[in-house]
């Protein structure tokens, strides 16, 4: 019996042959629309300054500040929002970008464009060093080390003679002027908004760069590279098991965030033409964090909305007026003025809009959309009206049940002359404790090998040794003839070993489909440039992955809930989802760590069916399990461990009736450990 028949009929969204192409088209449409709207808004923002009217100057300065803050916040969002690393150091990179680009132009004499690139490279290099040194840090410790960095940068600007210190940069004493020369490229001079009657031409590149940064950040967020960041944010171990080289990716994202922080600073230099160290104080770095969280961390538009809102609020008279309103009506002394009100607003945001303005708005919108979709009347009227236009949505009835297994997932015909997985003499010591001792194991394709044993027998440790979480003390692991001993989890994953965890490790806020998408090897393999620039191949691959993800979801019976958030699934279905994600990486061996833990008896039966169907398709499965009825039903071979050693091995019937095994489970002292 196969899972396919078990899966509810409602899950029958059909893999239309047209579908990938329509996805390509709709993705392309979405991207173009985003770019057009973004550029449109940018043009509107700088339109008031087109004739250089004096009245537009402070507005242009405001737009420039917003742009600078946006770019820096977009960078920080990659860290705070996706990778879940709260950095308080973005202000430091902002300062480095601003000062380095000015210094390289004025004191070193580089052409301005080269100076800007140099400044960004410097930010990236410093970012890389910080990333390497803070590799093991998370949470408060990461916040502290980045805060210390920002404080050090501030100190250098205040004390370093080369940068004019508190006389600013440039200054009369060193440079005979207090303003940077405007940059000239190809005969066009990019003037800052300063003097009435001069058109602030620099605003054009500023908003163009800002829009490009937004587009690139959007591409990254929606790419497998972006999912890898979320995976690291969820759990570095999980990310590694998805084939992500966590070390390198964390460095890349920190470098990218630092470069964007520096670019924000470059914008400030270009827009204000003079730098004072007072600008780059500790509040700057905090303001950037506020912008990200206020706007919505982990959302594409959040940093933009947050930066625009905060810069506008701080300079507008609204907060000041609220302050004087309190003074007049409540108390002359017990009142809050601008900075205090920003604090209150921020706390309220955290309370009322935990996902920030954009995130919360998006969530509301999604709820509304889903409600109206769930409303049968609305659905039927809308549906009948649009049937002709959207064939993909309405062809449910014509589904061919067998279509979904048309493509066996993996190399079912893999070389079987020797065992797919071979473990020999594997041991692991934790200090004095021998958690796994001299284990041997061989598993073939199309075979389910169950590992059982009482608590503390070393089963999970074995699974962790197998997938590279731990380095073995002795012994070897060979997979498809390749030596995987001591390889890092992402190497093991890339070699074709996938796994699931004791407690499902999912992206709870992401959709079910997005969870499966994260399982594809692309998550670990997509290079940053491809994620950022989104070449045409990426559209095709995204469509393919989407189709394949839907197929896998159908396979595990989650096809009808693909658009729900993972956290909305009942526990049992979260397990299926984890299996679907494991399948996405195109593995040949799947290690399942207690897949039936926490499942109801009926769910456990369905799980058994699913695992059996996977065996049919040629996967090798290693299942660490406690539920003997499940083991008895599905396992080809059973290994029982106790105190890290092999206690018994054989068919389920043999092992489960073994006296030593029974004794171990009943907790009786057994005479001679091994068998």
């Amino acid at each position: 019996m196969s899972t396919i028949e078990k899966s509810p009929p409602t899950s029958a969204a059909a893999p239309e042959p047209q579908r990938p192409r329509s996805h390509v088209r709709s993705a392309l449409r979405g991207d173009i629309l985003f770019a057009v709207v973004a550029f449109g808004i940018a043009v509107l923002a700088i339109l008031p300054g087109r004739d250089g009217a004096g009245t537009s100057i402070s507005t242009m300065q405001l737009v420039a500040s917003m742009a600078a803050m946006t770019v820096a916040a977009v960078g920080l969002n990659l860290l705070v929002g996706y990778t879940k690393l709260v950095s308080l150091g973005q202000g430091g990179f902002y300062a480095i970008g601003a000062y380095a680009s000015a210094y390289l132009t004025l004191d070193v004499g580089l052409p301005p464009l080269l100076a800007i690139l140099g400044a960004l490279a410097l930010c990236g290099a410093i970012g890389a060093v910080v990333a390497v040194s803070s590799m093991r840090l998370r949470g408060p410790q990461f916040a502290v080390i980045t805060l210390v960095l920002a404080v050090l940068v501030e100190r250098i600007l205040n004390e370093g003679n080369a940068f004019g210190r508190l006389a600013g940069y440039p200054n009369y004493a060193e440079h005979d002027t207090t303003s940077m020369e405007p940059v000239s490229v190809f005969g066009i001079t990019f003037r800052p908004p300063m003097i009435a009657g001069e058109v602030a031409t620099v605003m054009v590149p500023i908003v163009v760069v800002t829009v490009l940064v937004l587009i690139i950040a959007r591409n990254i967020a929606k790419s497998p590279w972006g999912s890898s960041l979320s995976a690291i944010g969820e759990s570095e171990m999980l990310a590694a098991h998805l084939g992500v080289n966590v070390f390198r990716r964390k460095i890349s994202v920190f470098v990218l965030a630092s470069v964007l922080g520096g670019l924000g600073g470059v914008i400030v230099t270009q827009a204000f033409a003079h730098l004072q160290p007072e600008t780059f104080d500790i509040y700057l770095t905090i303001t950037i964090v506020l912008a990200v969280v206020f706007g919505g961390s982990g959302t594409i538009l959040g940093p933009l909305v947050g930066a625009v809102a905060i810069v506008w609020l701080e300079q507008s008279d609204i907060l000041a007026e609220i302050g004087s309103f309190q003074q007049e009506n409540i108390s002359d002394t017990w009142y809050l003025s601008t900075s205090g009100l920003v604090g209150v607003l921020f706390i309220l945001t955290l309370f009322l809009m935990p996902r920030g303005i954009v995130g919360t708005a998006g969530q509301l919108l999604a709820t509304v959309v889903r409600k109206s979709a769930a409303d049968p009347d609305a659905a039927s009227t809308e549906g009948s009206a649009s049937t002709a236009d959207h064939p993909a949505v309405t062809t449910t009835a014509s589904t061919d049940q067998h279509a979904r297994v048309e493509r066996p997932p993996v190399a079912a015909g893999a070389d079987t002359s020797e065992s797919m997985l071979r473990i020999s003499g594997l041991s692991k010591n934790f200090g004095g404790l021998r958690a796994v001792a001299e284990m041997d194991l061989a598993v073939d394709g199309g075979q389910i090998h169950a590992i059982i044993g009482p608590n503390g027998a070393g089963k999970s440790t074995l699974a962790n040794l197998l997938t590279g979480v731990y380095q073995p003390t002795e012994g070897t692991v060979t997979f498809l003839g390749r030596d995987l001993t001591g390889q890092a989890p992402h190497h093991v994953s890339r070699a074709g070993v996938a796994r699931t965890f004791q407690t499902p490790q999912l992206f709870h806020d992401a959709t079910v489909r997005a969870n499966v998408l994260a399982g594809f090897a692309d998550t670990g393999r997509t290079p940053l440039w491809a994620a950022a620039l989104k070449p045409p191949g990426r559209y095709r691959r995204d469509a393919e992955m989407r189709a394949e993800a839907d197929r896998l979801l159908d396979l595990v019976g989650l096809g009808d809930v693909a658009d729900l958030r993972a956290s909305e699934l009942p526990y049992g279905k979260q397990r299926y989802l984890e299996i679907a994600r494991a399948l996405a990486s195109d593995p040949q061996l799947i290690v399942l760590d207690e897949p039936a833990a926490g499942l109801l008896a009926t769910e456990s039966v369905v799980l058994g069916d699913l695992l059996l169907s996977l065996r049919e398709e040629g996967f090798a499965l290693v299942v660490v399990e406690h539920h003997m009825d499940l083991v008895a039903r599905i396992a080809d071979q059973v290994t029982c461990m106790d105190q890290g050693r092999l206690l018994a091995r054989g068919t389920p019937a043999e092992v489960l009736s073994d006296e030593a095994v029974v004794a171990a489970y009943l907790g009786k002292p057994h005479e001679e450990g091994t068998h």
Partner: protein
Amino acid sequence: MKLQNLWSAKGIAIGAAALLALSGCGSDGGSEATGTADADGIITVKLGVVGPMTGPASLYYEYMDQDLEAFADDFEEQYGVRFDVVAEDDQASPEETARAVSKLINEEGVQAILGPPLSGNSLQVADTVQRSAIPWLLAGPNADEIINYDVQPNWAFQTNFTNQQIMSILGERLWANDAKVGIVYSADGFGQSNLDQLTAWADANGKELSVEETIQPGAADANATIKRMKDAGVESVFMGITQGSDTATVTRAIEQGGFDPATIMTTGTILTNYKDVAEPSQWEKIQIVDPRNFLEGGDKWVLDQVQEETGEAPAIPTNNISTYAMLDIYAQAVQTVGDANDKEAVRQAMEDIETVHIGPDLTIESPFSSDDHKLYTDDPATWFTYGFDDNFDLVNLGTAADCVEGC
């Protein structure tokens, strides 16, 4: 002769005002800031004021506010110039200052700008204001670096003493008898400017600065700094520190470390926020130099007047006085020109001003020239040296010239 002109002009204005008041068509108070004389002969000037209105630095906005409140009527009466103040908050941030100044110049169309009071923020907008060709009334900042006299005509005017001046007054005193000199300066624009100017004076006069140390605002102690001074055998200490509370940290360390230099000099900044956090034994030896006579005459009158009119102590006494002088200069210039919109003429009139009044009976004659927009001279005979008694009341020890060898 010059004085007569002034008095006659003033007389006419007052006479005209009185006449119009009698005839019952006085101004309605909310008159338009046209920059030219209205029916009453009053010129209403749109004056942009920029400074930190809120936050920890708000004292530096407060003193401008106090002066405008206390003296606006006096200037209107004396010169027929009324200030229509447009205030912008710079939040003590350079970027906000740039925006605030742009707004005042371009959107509000102010006819002159008073502030910002902090040197760093002034440096941020120095080029903008200069190129916008608008009278820039710098009553607060002491940094010489703000004005570049190579650029002419120059629009900025400083009525506070500058750090370069203070060093030329103090240099001889500090290095008297070839004493070893050390400086403690705060890590901000004012402090750094002090260091730069003291170093420049030393270089120009073939002297050497033995120890230079910073103090961070709010530092917990200054023990190491004082210890280094002591070990280096420093005999003259100059404290170029913005906040009185940080000055107190240094003098506490001096007492605690048993350091006993012959001379401890600082500036008028000690008058703010020092007394409450220090002990008489710590200020016993401190002396300050200042071009103003805080104890009698016009300078004192300004401070008393602020206290009387606003009910508050002068926020930054030195700057309260320099703001008065600045408003006096500008109001006179506007009165002379008769049209605040003719900014170049007003600027020229400021540069050419003959008599600056500080209160009813203190005058400074022809302080400016095209390459000198500083109110005070650096003639030690015109500066005062002060010490402090047990209540931290100032004691006039004589002119700076009298005290070159110590007082």
